[in-house]
């Protein structure tokens, strides 16, 4: 996809962030344009969430520069815990940062498959249900930039695929830029325009199929991780009939 004429939404330049004198990330740069999905991958503690928080301006004391060219931002944090003392229903949560009409709320909840939870207490939801509500809330306000920090954690396998498809569909429909953090290399490689592989710094970055050929990527994730794309990108030259026999493609 050519993005040359598209608006830049977010630019992080040489950002470093220190906590108690320890560098969490060093000299990370990235850029997100309209309609583009940029994915951060990397092992635990490699600074993926930190990078997202720097991009969003949650961490402010950084070295380097962060510029956001939009104020319409939707964020799905890695973890949201709702205290029991705060009685809040899904419907109240949906309008947290922006007033939404009832049908906007319904449509968004419907997209992530949790419309039936609308009047339930947020603290009574299961992990997967809460994730779906978080995603619904972030997309309901029609953002220009979506930042999703492991958005499908705790979601069942079938739901996971559907949600990633939804995310891709939303990026096309709203023409918004997406910064995605994911552990799921399969999804990353099949649904992303640009991959950044982090390990405290940017190990390697580029289009999915260039990244998986990178030696540093193989070092970080092991050789088997390189085969992921071949699993997903190969064209089927046949299909299976209901009894399992092979039908050559017409």
């Amino acid at each position: 996809m050519e993005n040359k004429n598209k608006k830049i939404l977010l630019k992080v330049e040489n950002a470093s962030f220190y906590l108690n004198d320890k560098a969490l990330i060093k000299k990370v740069s990235l850029e997100i344009k309209q309609g583009e999905i940029v994915t951060l991958i990397g092992p635990n503690g490699s600074g993926k969430s930190t990078t997202a928080k720097i991009a969003l301006g949650i961490y402010k004391k950084i070295e380097g520069r962060v510029r956001r060219f939009t104020e319409r931002i939707g964020y799905v944090p890695q973890k949201v815990s709702i205290d029991w003392t705060l009685p809040i229903r899904v419907i109240d949560f949906m309008s947290l940062t922006e007033d939404l009409k009832n049908d906007q709320i319904n449509v968004a909840l419907n997209l992530t498959g949790v419309e039936h939870l609308k009047n339930k207490s947020l603290s009574n939801l299961s992990g997967g249900e809460l994730q779906r509500v978080l995603i619904a809330r972030a997309i309901a306000k029609k953002p220009e930039l979506l930042v999703l920090d492991e958005p499908v954690q705790g979601v069942d396998f079938k739901g996971e695929i559907a949600l990633y498809e939804l995310i891709k569909k939303i990026s096309e429909k709203l023409n918004c830029g997406i910064l995605l953090i994911s552990h799921d290399l399969h999804v990353v490689m099949s649904a992303t325009d640009f991959v950044i592989c982090l390990n405290g710094h940017v190990c390697c970055s580029g289009k999915p199929h260039t990244v998986i050929q990178d030696e540093k990527y193989k070092e970080l994730f092991g050789d088997r991780a390189s085969n992921i794309l071949s699993l997903y990108e190969h064209e089927h030259d046949h299909s299976h009939s209901s009894d399992g026999s092979i039908d050559p493609k017409k």
Binding site: I58, E71, I73, P77, P87, R89, L96, T97
Partner: protein, 267 residues
Amino acid sequence: MFDDFFIRALIAGIGISLVTGPLGCFIVWRRLSFFAGTLAHSALLGVTMALFFEINIAFSVFIISAVLAILLLQLQKKTKLPNDALLGLLAHASLAVGLVVIGFLTSIRFDVMGLLFGDILAVNQNDLLVIWLGGGLILIILKLIWKPLFASTVNYELSEAEGMKPDKFNAIFTILTAALIAISIKIVGLLLITGMLIIPAATARNVSNNPKQMVIFSVIFGLISVLVGLFTSLKINSASGPSIITATLLLFIISLIKFKKVSDLKK
């Protein structure tokens, strides 16, 4: 039917409970009850300052509480002591300093009990003006900042990321809390104001399932407590502040019974 002083007490109490309801909810949600208590303790110093410099008590209490709140933010940044230790330090240090200063003010006849537990029956017209104007202003500001404040209460990072500027509104909220303590210190006293903030809100939590409902119930329970407390105090000649807080406690106990029934039904 009633004496003037009792009418004034009712008007003052109603005014205060209209403000403690919504503010108390935020204090419970944000786990700030100890913080509110600390600000209230510092009020003693504020009152003595007012007497010493002969300025308005509410104004002086407000200034001292606001200074204390800023001091706390600085200490949080500069030391590694946990929050509760810092709050305890500030609460009791300011209380002690206040008591020491009182000792020097021998020329002024001073009702320490009234300060600690409130003296709602000695409210004058000037106090009513402070309560209703100050309280009205607090409520208007709270209404204006409701959305960003609530968003930052639910999740700080989410509200920061989506441009709700949580730091700014948290600071405004702290100032509102200081202002509330300033206008209500004469009514319920510095030892009991935290109870007036927290107990009706806690009671409301037991019977509500969304934030607005909890605020409304919190105001209603505060109002009932003020009425019950004041009439009791008139009938059996008990201290007014403690009577009001005892009434909030009774409501809380009743709400527990109801709450248990509701959760049993859900099973």
